[in-house]
């Protein structure tokens, strides 16, 4: 019996569920680094958030009579929620659970499931619990390398913000009193860069579980680029525009003047790498046209800069991306692709129609 179907009769290797697994693989090194750096509690947070996401998806699937676990999107959402959590105490397990349930249940399922949500579920879940449990969500543990000093520590970004509100002026190497690794200190002596930037790049800083190692996130991002799951446009334009804005205007609040802002520390610290490679490139909530992607990324870069330097919060990636998610349908509506052989309709023709 011959199978008859419409052309094409061959298909590329890209498949939604496999792509989701690829994203998980790309995220794993950074997640494991977080577990190593912050201990078993980090692993517990990751497991709870993944389990919460899968369970919510499964139970809601029972309601809507769909079995959607196999598309893998709930797994990615759960993992991302977990990676966006600080290493919480064991008894605070309800926070990642609520975040995951909110992400899958409210942000994704109510709008029609995979492909229909207009906001990145993982980010929405994170922001929801951030504003609900602000103090717990802002307490960061000291990474393993500095554990001898204190149990909790500030992230470089929040420390910078505190120094700024206290009226401090100068670069991060002058303002911060956080511990640095010997390696970072020696490298910063040689190259003249901030030692905190070096530590942030290699992941020896406090922060959310999945966002601390810029290096491993970059590696995961490049893996996604090579497998053609994401394109270069959003990460490169996002990080690039943010870096340029930081350099141009980021020095002003720190009394350094225009065009003297720091670049490396802001780029490598906080959730920028995780956001730019894994959240802002989410298929569903970003524009589909190349031009739209660039507008989206520029907007993300601008809002991240605005919130980080001039807002009350030390961290702006999640809010910036969510803000641009909201604008995405509008971008989609107005940014059109240029058709092959497009001819401008002549004016006469338009008048004749009218």
């Amino acid at each position: 019996m011959m199978t008859v179907r419409t052309s094409p009769h061959i298909h590329g290797s890209l498949r939604t569920d496999k792509a989701m697994l690829m994203v998980v693989i790309a995220l794993l090194p950074a997640a494991l680094w977080g577990v190593w750096s912050f201990g078993l509690r980090a692993l517990f947070v990751l497991i709870v958030s993944i389990a919460g996401a899968l369970l919510t998806e499964y139970l809601l699937g029972k309601v809507s009579k769909e079995f959607t676990l196999r598309d893998g999107s709930a797994l990615v959402t759960g993992l991302l929620v977990g990676m966006n959590m600080p290493p919480l105490e064991f008894h605070q397990f309800y926070i990642p659970l609520i975040a995951s349930a909110f992400a899958i249940g409210v942000v994704k399922w109510t709008f029609g499931g995979l492909g229909c949500n207009w906001m990145n579920p993982a980010l929405a879940g994170r922001v929801f619990v951030f504003f609900s449990f602000t103090s717990q969500m802002s307490t960061f543990r000291t990474p393993r390398v500095f554990l001898s000093d204190a149990v909790t520590s500030a992230t470089p970004l929040s420390a910078m913000k505190t120094a700024m509100s206290a009226g401090g002026a100068g670069r991060s190497s002058d303002l911060l009193t956080l511990p640095v690794t010997d390696f970072a200190a020696s490298l910063s002596d040689k190259l003249g860069i901030s030692p905190y930037a070096v530590d942030a790049f290699f992941g020896n800083v406090g922060g959310c579980i999945g966002e601390v190692s810029a290096l491993l996130l970059l590696a995961g991002g490049i893996f996604l680029l090579c497998t053609k799951i994401i394109t270069w446009r959003i990460p490169v334009v996002y990080i690039g525009s943010f870096a340029v804005l930081s350099w141009m205007f980021g020095g002003i609040p720190y009394g350094l003047g225009a065009f003297h802002g720091e670049i490396l520390l802001p780029v490598f610290s906080g959730g920028l790498m995780l956001g730019a490679f894994f959240m802002a490139t989410d298929w569903v909530t970003t524009p589909t046209t190349p031009k739209g992607e660039i507008i989206f990324a520029l907007g993300c870069g601008f809002f991240t800069f605005l919130i980080r330097y001039f807002g009350a919060l030390p961290e702006g990636v999640s809010l910036a991306i969510i803000l641009m998610n909201i604008i995405t349908p509008t971008i989609e509506r107005f940014v059109k692709t240029k058709h092959f052989g497009y001819v401008k309709p002549e004016k006469n023709a338009k008048e004749a129609k009218a």
Binding site: I10, H11, L14, R15, G115, H339, Y342
Partner: protein, 435 residues
């Protein structure tokens, strides 16, 4: 040196030409029965001229062109008409077909050589029309219509399409390799009609040996032809993409290549033109690739028009057990057929036998934008598909649905395996009806 290609979109499927690339062209033993459809070409089907019981001669007109955009159909063999019935060809078109039972003894006409260089271009055009020549790349547009330049238009470039960008197919490649002199003569005959400023043969990078051979032949004959090597990228064999790649011009939406001063002609068509002007031989046989993972002996054969796919399969050593679909044409744009007795037509450059190539999964559209990225026409397949899905055909047409040529790049890359091309075919039909 970086090779030229078209700029926007396109995909890179594995070309799989190694299956039949090195198989020399063989002549298929004449099948006992031929089913010659009257719908061999784009445009109106031909009108059958024979009745049941009539005898036919090889090369005799058995169907006459019924309008300007139509072509004569000739008998591929000596024999008797046993039946005239409605038959479905691979593209799905149903038309009258003349069933011919072939005689044991076959005549061998069309050996006398004529000097076409002394004839005027009007005479050559007439000859091409009466020989029933159509574009053999798959679209099967009547060649004489294509070669007729309207008053006041000038042909800047004649582009010969040796791209063969569909995976698996090797018929044009074998032709260029084995009959380069004949093909080039056909090109020159077309050039005589059009008198273009330049003649370019576009060949993709997986056929560089053919490009080299053609260049040698061009040099030794002193033809004013250039061979342009192109990067491998599907759908470069489409005339709009080919013109963008070779002469850098974009055919405006809804217009023809002639509007940018170009005419595109397939390599096999050039060969058919050669046979028509040199031997006054009508188009009743063509080179066809029989390939795919599920055929025992992939081959390139010369087969008469009207040969049943089943005869081709039998000649190629039969199908393997894992055969799932039988396709007339290439894997990207070809048509799957249910009936192995479907006959070949003038546009059948290949018959493929494929095992299961596509997983039966589908997910909702995740708005990844891969289709937008890969659409060579710069369309937004995701939006058009959504509109068609909800019955809003006009909105889909406003988004440029009619510019879609169903090349399949969007469906090939869609991670959610949406039937995009199927949607567009449907949308075009229903959209036209509503108008």
């Amino acid at each position: 040196m970086k090779l030229a290609t078209f700029r926007r979109g396109g995909v890179h499927p594995a070309d799989r030409k190694e299956l039949s690339k090195d198989k020399a062209i063989e002549r298929l033993p004449l099948p006992s029965e031929l089913i010659v459809s009257m719908s061999q070409h784009l445009g109106a089907p031909a009108t059958p001229l024979k009745k049941k019981g009539d005898t036919v001669k090889k090369g005799e007109v058995i169907g006459s062109a019924s309008s300007y955009v139509s072509a004569d159909v000739h008998s591929p063999a000596d024999g008797v008409v046993t039946d005239i019935r409605k038959v479905r060809v691979a593209s799905g078109a149903v038309a009258d077909a003349i069933v011919i039972k072939c005689d044991e003894e076959q005549s061998d006409p069309f050996t006398e050589s004529y000097d076409w260089r002394s004839e005027s271009s009007e005479e050559l055009l007439k000859l091409i029309r009466s020989m029933g020549i159509v574009g053999m790349g798959g679209a099967t547009f009547p060649t004489d219509v294509k070669l007729t330049v309207p008053m006041g238009k000038k042909v800047d470039a004649l582009v010969i399409n040796g791209v063969e960008c569909e995976p698996y197919l090797t018929s044009d490649y074998r032709l260029m390799l084995e009959r380069p002199d004949e093909m080039l003569e056909g090109v020159m005959a077309a050039a005589k009609i059009l008198s273009p400023d330049r003649i370019i043969i576009g060949i993709e990078a997986n056929k560089l040996d053919a490009a080299e051979l053609l260049e040698q032949k061009i040099a030794s004959n002193g033809y004013p032809i250039t061979v342009q090597r192109l990067q491998m990228k599907y759908p470069q064999g489409d005339e709009k993409q080919l013109l963008k790649a070779t002469i850098g011009k974009e055919v405006p939406s809804g217009k023809l290549p002639l509007d940018v001063g170009a005419v595109v002609c397939n390599a096999s068509t050039a060969y058919a033109i050669y046979e028509a002007v040199r031997f006054h031989k009508p188009l009743f046989e063509r080179i066809c690739t029989i390939s795919g993972e599920s055929v025992n002996n992939p081959k390139n054969v010369i087969a008469p028009i009207g040969t049943k796919f089943s005869d081709l399969i039998a000649y190629a050593g039969g199908a393997k057990e894992d055969l799932v679909s039988l396709i007339g044409g290439g894997p990207m744009m070809g048509f799957a057929v249910a009936d192995p007795d479907t006959p070949m037509v003038k546009g059948s450059g290949g018959v493929l036998m494929l095992p299961k190539m596509i997983e039966d999964v589908s997910f909702p559209c995740v708005l990844c934008g891969k289709c937008v990225q890969h659409c060579p026409m710069g369309l937004q397949p995701n939006k058009m598909f959504r509109n068609i899905k909800y019955g809003n055909y006009q909105a889909a047409m406003d988004l440029g649905l009619m510019d879609c040529k169903e090349c399949g790049c969007c469906a090939y890359t869609c991670p959610s395996h949406l039937p995009l091309v199927q949607g567009f075919k449907l949308g075009k039909k229903l959209g036209r009806k509503k108008k």
